[in-house]
Symmetry: none
Subunit: 199 residues, 4 copies
Amino acid sequence: MSAASPQSRRPRSGNRRDEAARLAVLHAADDLLVEHGFGALTVEAIARRAGVAKQTIYRWWPSKVEILLDTLIEDSAKRLPVPALEPTAETVRGYLRDFARFLTDDPAGKVLLALVAQAQHDPGTADRLQERYLRPRRDQERDMLTRASAAGEITPALDPDTTLDAVVGPLVYRALTGSDVPPDLVDALAGNLLGPRRG
Amino acid sequence: MSAASPQSRRPRSGNRRDEAARLAVLHAADDLLVEHGFGALTVEAIARRAGVAKQTIYRWWPSKVEILLDTLIEDSAKRLPVPALEPTAETVRGYLRDFARFLTDDPAGKVLLALVAQAQHDPGTADRLQERYLRPRRDQERDMLTRASAAGEITPALDPDTTLDAVVGPLVYRALTGSDVPPDLVDALAGNLLGPRRG
Amino acid sequence: MSAASPQSRRPRSGNRRDEAARLAVLHAADDLLVEHGFGALTVEAIARRAGVAKQTIYRWWPSKVEILLDTLIEDSAKRLPVPALEPTAETVRGYLRDFARFLTDDPAGKVLLALVAQAQHDPGTADRLQERYLRPRRDQERDMLTRASAAGEITPALDPDTTLDAVVGPLVYRALTGSDVPPDLVDALAGNLLGPRRG
Amino acid sequence: MSAASPQSRRPRSGNRRDEAARLAVLHAADDLLVEHGFGALTVEAIARRAGVAKQTIYRWWPSKVEILLDTLIEDSAKRLPVPALEPTAETVRGYLRDFARFLTDDPAGKVLLALVAQAQHDPGTADRLQERYLRPRRDQERDMLTRASAAGEITPALDPDTTLDAVVGPLVYRALTGSDVPPDLVDALAGNLLGPRRG
DNA sequence: TCGTAATCGAGACGGTACGTCAGGTCTTAAC
DNA sequence: GTTAAGACCTGACGTACCGTCTCGATTACGA
């Protein structure tokens, strides 16, 4: 029998949004992206995998890009926080190294890369990615750099935004095109842009 | 009228590949990408626009990515040649500025960006892009840098490949995510990486 | 305007099969066959004419043969019923004459002929045609003959099935090959096979 | 090497029609029809199997139906000749039994059935089949019946053409729809239509 | 003897239809 | 009001044949 005893039925939502369904969708999207690539990331497949109706997805997310943004924001807040208080030279360099590892090793890094790629294919994605992820994070990163610079921890040769682009750009570029992103690269870029290690 | 003057009849190919059809496909793909974005770049649409049968496309190109690669290679050889002989500091800087303009203003630049994006979505694309475009061009660029460095024209702080990634990466990254790519950025990056302008 | 008055909106099906779509497909298939022949009877054309998506056709019918079978069964039940109760000699002869007219004049007759033809081209069609149409109808016809015979209304020279083949065969054969099927032919065959008219 | 000794090279046609190509096409069509059915009988497949260029087919035959007619005419003249001189009751019955076997067992019988079927799908085929095969053969058959009748060998209840339709029709009908065509059926029909066997 | 002409295999070409898949909208029925 | 389910139209996918065409090689005939 498929429908077991009545009381064992999962307590379906009724009137309010079903948090279980929301999480199932986010995880399904994440898993599909990591396991089978962006090409396999269809709304249909997400619904199938999450055990959720397509309509439930369309009701809550205007597009699959927003699903990915949701997972990206939640995951990168948890697993790649921007050092906020009293950043030292080592904190900053550590963050950049973490970022490189995030890009290549973390499932959420794949999500970020997929969104950057999709941003090129679709202007709407570019806007939303900037608005919901890149801009807020950049604000935090700029703040980190400014504080570290003010504290004399680092001596950037360029202004903060250019500096960040100059480090993040190459890492993302290499990750996007299927090249490796060795820690050495981060150190080389950081060394050149943040000033020599003190000592 | 459909049948114009007899002598103006198109000399159809017969047994050999029809160059007119080949060019029609390349141009149609290019135009569609620029005008309506990667999402509109379907084989069906290319065939429609080129006035060509779908089968003709599938006969000669294994995927639309290869079509884009063909246009990219032909166009960027013409419009963005890598300075080869006796590169000076100014030649090198000029090339990088041209590259930035190519990315944002040239239709073929859109093709490159689309391919970089697609490389993230599909590993096969990544391989082919590296193999047919990025690697050969990088070889020329490395050569340019090495010669300029040997001639004392520039004094890069990092090894040639890292230097190139450090300039190209940020430009591509900003172009991909829908940010602008100001000439200032090129100059700032070049100034930092190629050494100070002589004077 | 595309959205007319709210109340005139077609009440689309939702979760259940759309009867309007089903009928549109059956009629479109019928019309196309009659108007342009079997060659024009493509799934694409049926979908176009019925204003229905191809997928809707493939969802409900495994092949266009089954579409034709559906129309044939519904139409010939309505327009060519087999006389069931107390068949007289005249009833039987009338049915056979009706059958001849059905073959040549009724749209559904064209459907039957098309299916008989297609049965030769494809064994699967042969099986389904037998199973869904010919066998059930033959059962009724055999019953009719047996009753009429038992009542002394007719005196067939051969067993019922052979008798039926001996009348139906020539009619279908002539219709198939583009010859005419004159009422005289029916009468001649019936006279020879069912015994002389009483009186 | 693929091309063996030079002298073993096939002596290609030059200026006149290549009889080998003609036969290769006829046999290929026949074989394909018997082995894989009418659905597999495409011009492309015939050309492939015959080792012949499509153009060679289109040069000599306006359609695949004409190819089948060519094979049918040649084969049935050889393997199912109509008894011409002094037909006896047994000759006539023998011819009808042969016809039944031809329909079911002879490859050329499959060709005839395929053409009868196709005649229903396409009026052009109906005309050509009548004109090139059915009418001439019917003329011979009618002649046979008339002579046998004049000689007192048989006593048909109906006029010759109706009689022939009445025998041929059921046989073809059953063969078309995938039923068997037992010899008994021929005998029953013949007995009923040609008069009782003389004793 | 050599050009003219028709043949042949090969296969590119613009098309149409195939049967499948996903997109995004809508309706139902259960909760 | 929300859910899973799924029918619906749309449109692209990559493939198979259609019938037309052009090619280059081959062979026969006639000036």
